[in-house]
Amino acid sequence: MPRSAVGFVLRRLAYQGVVLVGVAFLVHVLILLSADPAQALLPPTTSPEAVEAFRRAQGWDQPLPVQFATFLGRAVQGDFGTSIRFGQPALAVVLERVPATLTLGLTGLAVGLAIAFPLGSLAALRRGTWADGAVRGFAVLGASVPGFVLGQVLILVVAVGLRALPVSGGGSVAHLVLPGLVVGIASTPGLIRILRASLLEVYGRDYIRTAFAKGLSPRAVLLRHALRNAAIPVVSFLAFDIAALLSGVVIVERVFAYPGMGSLAVQAISGRDLPVIQAFVFVAALTIVTTNLLLDVAYTRLDPRIRGRR
């Protein structure tokens, strides 16, 4: 990477760091919304002295700025406190589930892109035909069917008809097929729309006419010139879409009893395991921030104007 691009990425890195500190603050302040966490967390028979001791041990008797400084100091070291349910460090409990969630998310993204690129290209190249109409109809319908409904339908089809795939749990490739499909299909409508619009715009450009004029086949024009340029808005959209994808993963995990951090968080909520929820939110934000940085790097590779900016 040229120096200007490095500078661009470094600036983004610094800013995303600031955002993460903000998330840590937000996650901490959230706890203050509940009336009295100590009261809520301990059994009702606990003596007032024990409640007081617990409060002091958690640092909740300190003034807010002190609490936040302590929390931030600990958060930087990866310490979000101890999980009330598991009795282990909260971050470790969450991190243990990250690979499963990440695998599902990436599978879903791959499925989504694999569906969206051919369909979006087809709709743009056959604009105004029945194929375009069908793809757009699919996009509208797909945007109206929530992942958890699609998931139930797939479970029903597989459980009654095919019986070939596991419908709940995790740990093998077969366990990834159904949830991956649901997460992927949920992300296609937006991708198709953006790609179609972006391709239509690119096909009006002079360099595409030049490419056709020098005798390239329509296939070569699409693959070598059009898609490459049309992908830039898709990357921008992904930055926004990754958060939606992760939201979807959390819900889909619940549908398929998939052992990721979404399922963990749902359990943590019913058990009022606040340290685990804090760590969960932070890890999710960390994922988003990291993805945004990776997409920034992708920009510098896709768009020569950013790469060469001085």
Partner: protein, 294 residues
Amino acid sequence: MIATIGRHRAGMFGVLLMVVVATIAVLAPVLAPGGPEAGVLRDRLLPPVFAGGSWDHPLGTDRAGRDLLVRIVWGSRTTLWIAIAATVGGGLVGIVAGVVAGWYGRWVDLILGRLADIQQAIPFVILAMAVVAVVGPSLLNLILVLGLASWLFTYRVVRGDMLAARERPWVEAARALGIGDRRILWRQVLPNVLPSIVVVLTLFVPQTILFSAGLSFLGLGVPPPTPEWGRMIADGADYLRTEWWLTLMPSLALIVTVLGITLVGDWVRDLGDPLLRLLRSAAPATDEMGKTDA
């Protein structure tokens, strides 16, 4: 041209769906006067008509012996009420924040911008889970949490519109004439951008409904016994292999509602663009709505 006619027809279909759902929601007390929470435990899990049931319960009953059709009918009220309250409430906050940040700028813009970035770093469902984990699930809390999504969306759009408006030649002209800043905002700028804001908010309603159903599906939305489609879908999941209609029927209601509003939103956007251009005819250059990041 073909595409335009196709869209037109799809839009009309969307209007039809929306009218049906809205009518059912309004007429729920007439259509199902017994209310959604009445059930006879002896009549639990009765099959629907198409699976050998009787017309007393056309879609059968749930595990508490409550009529499924009645619950779906009343559930439309819950869904629409939540969607409207969250979109309008969050939208108003977003409009005020966007106007202040985009028009007056400076430190307000700086602070609101950072807040928005921080919130955007947390996927919405996860943020909502954390909030509900702390404050507990209730109808009001669900509406407030969903408002968090629509304030952010509206804020980004309105701020972009305001920044663009500030640079317009006719605003500059008004300034040169010595007209006050506040008067320009109220008389010239707001009337120009409000129509597009309303359209943008309409497009966000289906998203709010899906979020709401998703959170209720996770058990973080409206607590029972209030009928809510997402919750009904989750409850039905336990009986998916045998009484699959318990899941599928509320799912259909949800899909039809979201589809209807989405189709209408798309149509209004297509129709609305020339209309907006007309309304903004004072402005020499109109930005495409799509350019403002959402």
